[in-house]
Amino acid sequence: MKKILFSCIGLLLFSACRLSAFQPTLLRTPTSTPLVISTFNSSCVSTEPTQKDIERALSFTEELFDTSNWERSYSVMQGRVAVTWLHVDGFLAYLEAIIFPCGYQEADIDDYFNDTNWEIILSNYDSYEMKNECRNDSALRLYEFSVMATDVEYEMRYWVMKDINTRVITLMLVFPLGFESMMNHYADNIFPSLETCE
């Protein structure tokens, strides 16, 4: 049930109403959120996001999307803070600051981004195909997808970054095919060490 709820909240987040050439796809797109599975004990922290989490999520990309072409909204929910930037031309950036209340190891992240959870994360797309997966020396991960929605094909890059010991940040860029250079520009600004897997 929670998956459904979070899925719907994701829909809410992504379903901004301003229509544009590519927007119809994004209206029913992005991300739902798998649950973080943890065995809560005394060393675990609360799953409730703090103001610091909110500020971290909102400031992560600094001023990159602070233009009139990008519209920002954000949601604060149990276990995460999510920020959506929607471009007037339908490009999408979506960040999540996910709380792992009992901390995490690489294996936990592997487990989190398993096939089942990708199905949840990308459940609002008509189809998706993982094209590449890579990581750099600092364990920053990048997953590259080709996704379809409303008969439009999009390129998606999905980074996963270990932030602090109980927080993981993910950032997703979704651009229609043909806008690779623009996507590279944003990717390079956010993750210069891992702009792409290629």
Binding site: M1, K2, I4, L5, S7, C8, I9, L11, L12, L13, S15, A16, C17, E71, R72, S73, Y74, S75, V76, M77, Q78
Partner: protein
């Protein structure tokens, strides 16, 4: 029941998309006609042409539509501690021109949804009549199997209550939807959706939120 809740969240999506109609005039045009014309005096208000509203807007006095921290705090604190129990899980979203808060209870099969709407150029009662018109309800209840307007009323203070019965997956739900003139540029709406058989719970929450206007 689960599909109902899913539908409800989609509803929130759509409600969010309905936004501030004073500034998104294109949205109503995309809506299907309402199956349930209202029969109260609200009907007359709904038929007001939009020009009546737009002509009254003085752009020189408009403020930014972006929510401030005080708007977030106001939205989060509006219901006091009513939903601060393990039954309810809270989510809130800060959009370009509003703050919305959702309290969801799986155990109670219920949802409460608050929006703090910003009218950057202010508003009059007629603006709200227009905003909360049949098209608005068609959006709000677009994912239900059906919805029926039951009643609408308001206090002298301007607090409004709209009551509906909705059906989804064969289950009936009682909907109370209040609208409060909060400040000169802020309107708060609060929606409670609860199983119709849980009348005592509906009454209890309604009284806790709006003791002066629990029902029409």
């Amino acid at each position: 029941m689960k599909r109902f809740l899913f539908g409800l969240m989609i509803l929130f999506l759509i409600t969010a998309c309905s936004g501030n109609k004073a500034s998104t005039a294109e949205i109503p045009a995309q809506l299907p006609p309402s199956p349930e014309p209202l029969s109260s005096p609200l009907t007359q208000i709904e038929n007001l042409p939009q020009e009546v509203i737009t002509q009254e807007i003085d752009q020189t006095t408009c403020i930014s539509p972006a929510p401030a921290q005080v708007d977030i705090d106001r939205a989060l604190s509006f219901a006091g501690k009513l939903f601060d129990t393990p039954d309810w899980e809270r989510t809130y979203t800060v959009d370009i021109d509003k703050v919305s808060v959702t309290w969801y209870s799986e155990g109670l099969s219920s949802i409460a949804y608050l929006e703090a709407l910003i009218f950057p150029c202010g508003y009059e009662e007629l603006d709200l009549d227009y905003f909360f018109n049949v098209d608005n309800w068609a959006i709000v209840f677009g994912n239900y199997q059906s919805y029926e307007y039951v009643d609408g009323c308001r206090l002298d203070s301007g607090v409004r209550l709209y009551q509906f019965i909705t059906v989804d997956q064969g289950y009936e739900y009682d909907v109370h939807y209040w609208v409060v003139n909060d400040t000169a540029t802020r309107v708060i709406s609060m929606m409670l959706v609860m199983p119709i058989e849980s009348q005592a719970m509906i009454d209890e929450f309604s009284y806790s939120l709006f003791p002066q206007l629990t029902e029409c």
